[in-house]
């Protein structure tokens, strides 16, 4: 049940999505990845992908134009 952070601040599409996909491969089932982003279109495509794979996703707006996406590896 470990928690990991992925710093994608300052990165534009498609970099946050590709980095998230790679990082999720390394996680064990039950682990959570927190992706830090400040690119509004990554706020759309990263959760979209994670939900399609079947992971639990939550988005939190932490500051103006800054978000944290919580992705739990469920399988």
């Amino acid at each position: 049940m470990a928690e990991y952070r992925l710093d994608c601040l300052g990165e534009a599409c498609p970099v946050p999505l590709i980095k998230t996909q790679k990082k999720m491969e390394q996680l064990k089932v039950g682990d959570t990845l927190i992706v830090e982003i400040d690119h509004s279109c990554a706020m759309k495509n990263v959760p979209e992908w994670a939900r399609k794979v079947g992971y639990n996703v939550e988005i939190e707006e932490v500051d103006d134009g800054e978000w944290e996406i919580y992705i739990e590896k469920t399988k």
């Binding site: 601040l9 970099v15 590709i18 980095k19 690119h39 103006d64 134009g65």
Partner: protein, 178 residues
């Protein structure tokens, strides 16, 4: 209830609109643009004018260039940012984007992450600018307005933009993402 917290404010200004909403608005606005200005929406041809105006400021004569032999382009040489339709449109894009991000409280000045990111962005920008000129338009002028006006060149552009995006993302992953 405070305006910022109203669900309608969130829906209109904060959340991303659906692709359908965007598509219908773009189609309507581009039709209006053709009706008013006589030309479909374009972005990058104007950049060539901006470049020419800057060169003219320094005394360079660009009127002999092949590009400025076309009547529409040679006319632009005597115009300014305020009298050239394309310039006003481009300024509208910048001001509109700023307004949208401010209304959504999402304005943020982003940091450069690494010199690699800088090189990738500069290289990408130069290639896109050059490509847009030799293709007679960018993804707005050649692709969006081209296909909407039933021109074959829009479809040819579509095939190659997908090829280019595919190669570009391979290069990005291989050389610029570590």
């Amino acid at each position: 209830m405070n305006l910022i917290n109203s669900p309608w404010y969130k829906r209109i200004f904060k959340d991303a609109w659906s692709y359908w909403t965007g598509a219908i608005l773009l189609a309507t606005l581009n039709t209006a643009m053709v009706a008013i200005s006589g030309k479909g929406w374009g972005v990058t041809t104007t950049f060539a004018y901006w470049g020419a105006w800057i060169l003219q400021l320094f005394g360079a004569d660009v009127s002999g260039w092949n590009f400025f032999q076309l009547e529409a382009n040679s006319k632009a040489l005597g115009q300014s940012v305020f009298t050239n339709t394309g310039s006003v449109q481009n300024i509208g894009i910048i001001v509109g984007a700023l307004l949208a991000t401010l209304l959504a409280s999402q304005f943020k000045i982003k940091k450069l992450k690494s010199y690699k990111q800088f090189i990738a962005a500069a290289l990408g920008g130069l290639l896109m600018g050059y490509g847009a000129r030799i293709a007679f338009g960018c993804n707005i002028g050649a692709f969006f307005s081209g296909i909407a006006s039933m021109s074959v060149h829009g479809w040819v552009y579509a095939i190659f933009i997908f090829l280019g995006a595919w190669i570009g993302s391979k290069l990005l992953v291989r050389y610029f993402m570590t």
